[in-house]
Amino acid sequence: MQSIANTMHKKPKLRLAALLAAPILWLVVAYLGALATLLVTAFFTIDSFTGNVVQSFNLGNFQDMLTDAAYKNVVLRTLGIAISVTIICTILAIPMAFYMAKIAKPKSQKILVALILTPLWASYLVKIYAWRTMLEPGNGVLDWLLGPIGFNSPGFGGPAIIIGLSYLWLPYMILPIYAGLERLPNNLLDASGDLGAHNWYTFRRVVLPLIFPSLVAGSMFTFSLSLGDYITATIIGGKLQMLGNVVYQNFSINLPFAATIATIPVTIMAIYLWMVRRTGALASL
């Protein structure tokens, strides 16, 4: 054991290889290979008779996608939803995580974390159908509870999708922030207060920068999970569709076109990650 440890210590490359071997093998060789096989069909077409993929390179699919305004609409809408969900989750999560990490007593902490997590077990579909009952215009729960004070449910559509998705992914934002705040030394906050900063200033200049990596970690979930989602739109989205709906509708009959549309979330995530890198949140030490 000690000799293995010594070898590993002396040869960093060996350590690296040991760490990387299994995940890379699966992710790159199998998953990426299969994904690439799928996405590369974006450059192919289908035989109009049999529906099978014809492997002759052409850019027709991309042309169709770029010339039809409908696809620009759905991309912008999906992007807008993903960004809104991320912002809403962040705003909701930070105060909750802060209370849980810094103010709650250790025993209450555990209970609060459990409370945040139990909704995860209630099943995506059931929760979204519950939101359907909540948002039903006229006699849904929201109108029933808040109608008397003049509040109207937004009904089904874009706002409903944003509410639904924010609801689903909130734990994915709270937990990373909570874990990040837990490691935040209390004496930093004490010191800031001692130096004369009031709470909001301390939050803005001390806490926020230190939990930024956690915010980024959480936002990756809320953003990407929203990007690929389509079930919520089907149930409470009214007439609206998201990118995932278009892919889902086309994948079986016209895989090349579905692959073309699927390159959009890939591109968006690549840009998103690039932007995150530029902010230096994930800068190496």
Binding site: V28, V29, L32, G33, A34, L35, A36, T37, L39, V40, I46, D47, S48, F49, T50, G51, N52, V53, V54, Q55, D64, D68, A69, A70, Y71, N73, V74, R77, Y129, R132, E136, P137, G138, N139, G140, F156, T234, I235, G238, K239, Q241, N245, V246, Y248, Q249, N250, F251, S252, I253, N254, F257, A270, W274, R277, R278
Partner: protein, 404 residues
């Protein structure tokens, strides 16, 4: 300094992505490709000639509710008896949509599929299903004649499956809100409708056929003879009808729960529906009716088809025979909410009015019902002077319509 660092990072990132993409593309090229290119006819898939011993299990792809083994409700079971009798253990995978089912069948891991008309021809021409030797299926003789050898379940006189049941796409309306009672599909396509925003339509590209059906009555000079055979001009006209309809629509529905809940709450007061949805809404106290308008309607009849790569062909045939038997067919027709395909099932339903409600034996009723079919480039109405739009184009146009 930092800027240079960032620039270096970006350059490295770019080169890494480039290398990864190239590697992936090479990998993709090396991996197994899809089936060879077009053939001008139906793929030559052999048909089974004789029935042998059961293989011990059968893997089905079916709609939820088609294959019940008592685990949902003790009294709803037409599977355990089959398993005991034939020794074929039934494994069922439920598909959410026709698209899922086609994709699952293409994996080659399943033996039998209950295909809707918008999937059946895709499976046939794609070589994913084999012709069915109806001589090996004793219950086939009792199937209603007007379901056999139809365009969506047979090609050139060769049968590709066993009919499961059928239903029509009716026009639903809230009897207490929509007055006078509608008699025509015009009520959902009329741009001046007083029910704007409360109308619904079926959320699938196959709904384009409903618009085509409407045009058959309102614009006969377009020459549409069969709503699933549309050339470019006819297709464009149908899309125009749907574009004009879009502002009237509150929601498009794909699952009955959303639709019935909407009918009950009044969010939807008018639109396409199924008989089973009407029954459910009525049982909840909603004042609603479903009618077949004067122009006729589209409809559907699912077909049990056998995979061309079936690992358990004998059990597959045994299942297809069983589900078409009077008792099983009656059971599933009542549970799911459709008209049975076996004429003898009508005597066996628990609700004696079931067949009457669903018009099972009423041949005249089905005369102007255009069952879902898969549009192909070769016009399904027999025209050879023009090319019709294949289903892939329907789907693309629907995606575009839904988002424009």
């Amino acid at each position: 300094m930092i800027k240079m660092e960032v620039q270096m990072h970006n350059k490295r990132l770019f080169s890494q992505i480039a290398v990864a993409s190239v590697a992936a593309l090479i990998l993709a090229g090396c991996s197994s490709s899809n089936d060879a290119a077009s053939s001008s006819g139906v793929p030559d898939v052999p048909m089974m000639e004789t029935l042998g011993e059961g293989e011990g299990q059968v893997n089905l792809v079916a709609w939820a509710g088609y294959v019940e083994n008592g685990s949902t409700d003790k009294n709803v079971d037409w599977v355990t008896g089959f398993e005991k009798e034939t020794g074929c253990k039934v494994n069922v995978k439920n598909g959410a949509t026709s698209d899922d089912m086609v994709a699952l069948m293409k994996t080659g891991e399943y033996d039998v599929v209950s295909a809707s008309g918008d999937a059946s021809l895709r499976l046939i021409y794609g070589g994913d299903v084999a012709p069915v030797n109806t001589d090996l299926i004793s219950n086939y003789a009792d199937i209603f004649e007007n379901l056999k050898q139809q365009q969506w379940n047979s090609v050139d006189g060769v049968s590709y499956g066993v009919p499961h049941g059928r239903g029509a796409n009716l026009l639903s309306y809230r009897t207490d809100i929509v007055k006078p009672a509608p008699t025509s599909w015009a009520s959902v396509f009329d741009v001046n409708s007083p029910y704007k925003g409360k109308i619904t339509a079926y959320d699938s590209p196959i709904y384009i056929a409903d618009a085509a059906l409407y045009l058959m009555a309102t614009q006969p000079d377009l020459g549409i003879k069969y709503p699933y055979a549309l050339d470019q001009k006819q297709f464009d006209a149908a899309i125009e009808v749907l574009k004009a309809q879009k502002p009237l629509i509150g929601e498009y529905w794909g699952d009955y729960l959303k639709h019935v809940a909407s009918l009950k709450s009044g969010g939807t007061v008018l639109g396409t529906t199924w008989q089973v949805n009407i029954n459910l809404a009525k049982s909840e106290g909603t004042k609603v009716e479903g009618i077949k308008p004067v122009e006729g309607s589209t409809g559907w009849s699912d077909t049990w088809m056998i995979s061309s790569k079936a690992k358990n062909p004998n059990c597959a045939y045994m299942w297809m025979n069983h589900i078409a038997s009077p008792a099983a067919n009656a059971g599933v027709a009542e549970w799911f909410g459709e008209a049975p395909s076996n004429a003898k099932s009508c005597d066996l339903t628990a609700d004696k009015n079931h067949c009457a409600t669903f018009h099972a034996a009423d041949d005249a009723y089905w005369e102007d019902v255009y069952y879902w079919n898969t549009p192909t480039e070769t016009c399904l109405d027999g025209r050879t002077d023009v090319k019709c739009l294949p289903y892939a184009e329907w789907v693309k146009a629907w995606s575009s319509l839904r988002n424009s």
